[in-house]
């Protein structure tokens, strides 16, 4: 072993290696593969937003901003969150602009967790949730969800997973990688559970605009929940602004003050050019967002239908831009399926186990790509399945 390893903190050294690191390494060597593996929009940021960023540079907007973010951005966020989620937050004390939801989540966890605290989170889930908790010297407690229930979070599973010391419940609807959403009834049960167990809820709602059936409801909008919820959101998915890295956290002022401390010492502020672009997205980006959402929904219908026709059972995801087909009928595990599909047919999908053990037997297929790519990829998957059955 490299002797410099001794300098690495124990809790970081103990973090499990991502099971898909090797898979990503293979993929990166195969740039000619058709990718259904992209966790970001295939659309370029709408030009009006890019133009706003360029104008900010032309005006010499190159300084730090208030730690909380530009006042105009926080006011814009307050209006947007009020109009779309029915939530009222003060731009002065309850809203913080961050470097994407990733930083918002990290700062929130670091602000609220003591060593040994426990965080409930539902999986399969975004890859950083458990590591972010562990980096706070806290314990990540998974709550499994299952295809039979369309990967909905059940209150029974929550109760089973709960244990003394649980302080936080981390939820993400619509969910990466399953595309699952939460019904009002389910949210009400989760809220009641949070009250009963006195949990702080951290709600990552980054995909909320990409809800295709029904309307998205934030758990923070349920009676009594605003006082125990940190609402996380951003611009990456709905406005195709992943590279701008700008998100935000909203919550009760005393907790936001604590999050602000972590943010100001660690980050200082989100980049001013990205903040200016975000202001433009909130002011004039709605039509572009709706146009992209319509495309995702049409592509979703195509890819889910094709997977089911191919014998890969796939529930209809109600949100985000991921399908999560069941590949267990092939007799292969997720990693083997994804690796062989990539090597033999040059189609990249992400093994479900990348998102936690509950993803075993599934692969994530992003439909954030063209119709042509979806059709070609499905044709190759059909060929791959034929070779397996031969």
């Amino acid at each position: 072993m490299d002797t410099t390893q001794r300098f690495v903190a124990k809790h970081v050294a103990a973090l499990p290696k991502s099971g898909i690191r090797d898979f990503f390494a293979i993929v990166s060597q195969m740039r000619d593969a058709i990718s259904l593996g992209i966790g970001e929009p295939d659309f370029v940021t709408p030009y009006g937003i890019r133009e706003a960023a360029m104008q900010a540079l032309e005006k010499g907007r190159t300084s730090y901003t208030d730690n909380r973010g530009l006042q105009a951005l926080r006011e814009g966020i307050a209006r947007y969150v009020g109009a779309n989620y029915g939530l009222e937050y003060s731009p002065d004390t309850e809203i913080l602009a961050t470097i994407g939801v990733s930083e918002a989540l990290d700062a929130t966890l670091r602000a609220v967790l003591n060593p040994g605290d426990k965080v409930l989170y539902h999986e399969p889930c975004y890859v950083s949730y458990a590591p972010s908790v562990i980096l706070c010297h806290a314990q990540a407690i998974p709550v499994s969800t299952h295809a039979s229930a369309r990967f909905a979070l059940s209150i029974e599973a929550l109760r089973t997973a709960w244990q003394p010391g649980c302080k936080v419940l981390l939820i993400n609807f619509p969910t990466n990688p399953t595309g699952g959403t939460a019904s009002g009834e389910m949210l009400a049960k989760i809220a009641a559970f949070a009250h009963e167990k006195d949990l702080l809820v951290i709600s990552d709602e980054i995909y909320s605009e990409l809800t295709f059936e029904g309307t998205h409801t934030s758990i923070a909008s349920l009676p009594g929940m605003k006082a125990r919820t940190i609402f996380l959101h951003g611009f990456s998915k709905a406005f195709a602004m992943t590279g701008f890295r700008v998100g935000y956290a909203c919550g009760p002022a005393p907790i936001m003050d604590a999050i602000l401390k972590v943010h100001q010492y660690g980050i200082m502020c989100a980049p001013i050019v990205s903040q200016e672009a975000a202001i433009e997205a909130l002011a004039n980006g709605r039509d572009d967002m709706l146009r992209m959402r319509e495309k995702y929904q049409e592509r979703r219908d195509l890819i889910v239908r094709r997977f089911n026709e191919l014998g890969l059972k796939c529930h209809l995801p109600r949100g985000a831009f991921y399908a999560f087909p069941d590949i267990s009928s092939t007799g292969l595990d997720s990693m083997t399926f994804a690796t062989r599909l990539l090597r033999e047919q040059k189609v990249a999908m992400v093994p479900g186990t990348a998102f936690g053990p509950s993803g075993a037997g599934f692969c994530r297929a992003s439909y954030s790509t063209s119709y042509g790519n979806i059709i070609k990829a499905c044709d190759r998957i059909a060929h791959f399945l034929d070779t397996l059955h031969a």
Binding site: V27, I38, V127, A348, I375
Partner: protein, 160 residues
């Protein structure tokens, strides 16, 4: 809007088989709808879009502002229809404003375009005057912005 037409207008090159897959129609249904759209003059056809800066394409394009005097009883449609029939004419619009018709002409050389204007266009009955603007450079062509290289070469093909 017709679902087949909507997909065509989005611009992704899709054949009838692919359209059928996307729409969950039998391919025969897509073929029939395409035929109806063409027969009814709604869908006019496909054209490849060439970068006007392509060196092997030596053609010249001009925008011609045409003032016309509508002929008795026939109106603008008659003369615009006659102008539109020339092979050199790519596009012909009736506009509001200082002139009546905007005619976009493409031909093999500047001399040929000039010849078309003074030998054909200007001599048509009802044409009062023309003002010809030769296109020097294209910055955007039928929705395509002229840019060098792809913006997304560094984008990872898999991300969480």
């Amino acid at each position: 809007m017709n679902a087949v037409l909507k997909l065509l207008l989005e611009g992704e090159p899709l054949d009838a088989k692919q359209l059928a897959q996307i729409l969950a129609f039998p391919q025969a249904e897509v073929d029939a709808q395409l035929a109806t759209l063409k027969a009814s003059g709604i869908f006019l056809g496909w054209r490849a879009v060439l970068n006007p800066a392509y060196e092997e394409d030596r053609t010249v394009r001009a925008l011609i502002e045409v003032k016309v005097r509508p002929e008795g009883g026939l109106g603008y449609d008659h003369i615009a229809g006659r102008i539109s029939r020339f092979e050199q004419v790519e596009t012909c619009y009736l506009l509001s404003g200082a002139f009546d018709l905007l005619v976009i002409v493409k031909d093999a050389s500047l001399r040929k375009v000039a010849s078309f204007v003074h030998e054909r266009l200007a001599k048509l009955e009802g044409v009062q005057s023309t003002a010809t603007c030769f296109m020097l450079r294209a910055y955007k062509e039928q929705g395509y912005v002229m840019e060098n290289g792809s913006a997304n070469l560094d984008k990872p093909i898999v991300s969480p």
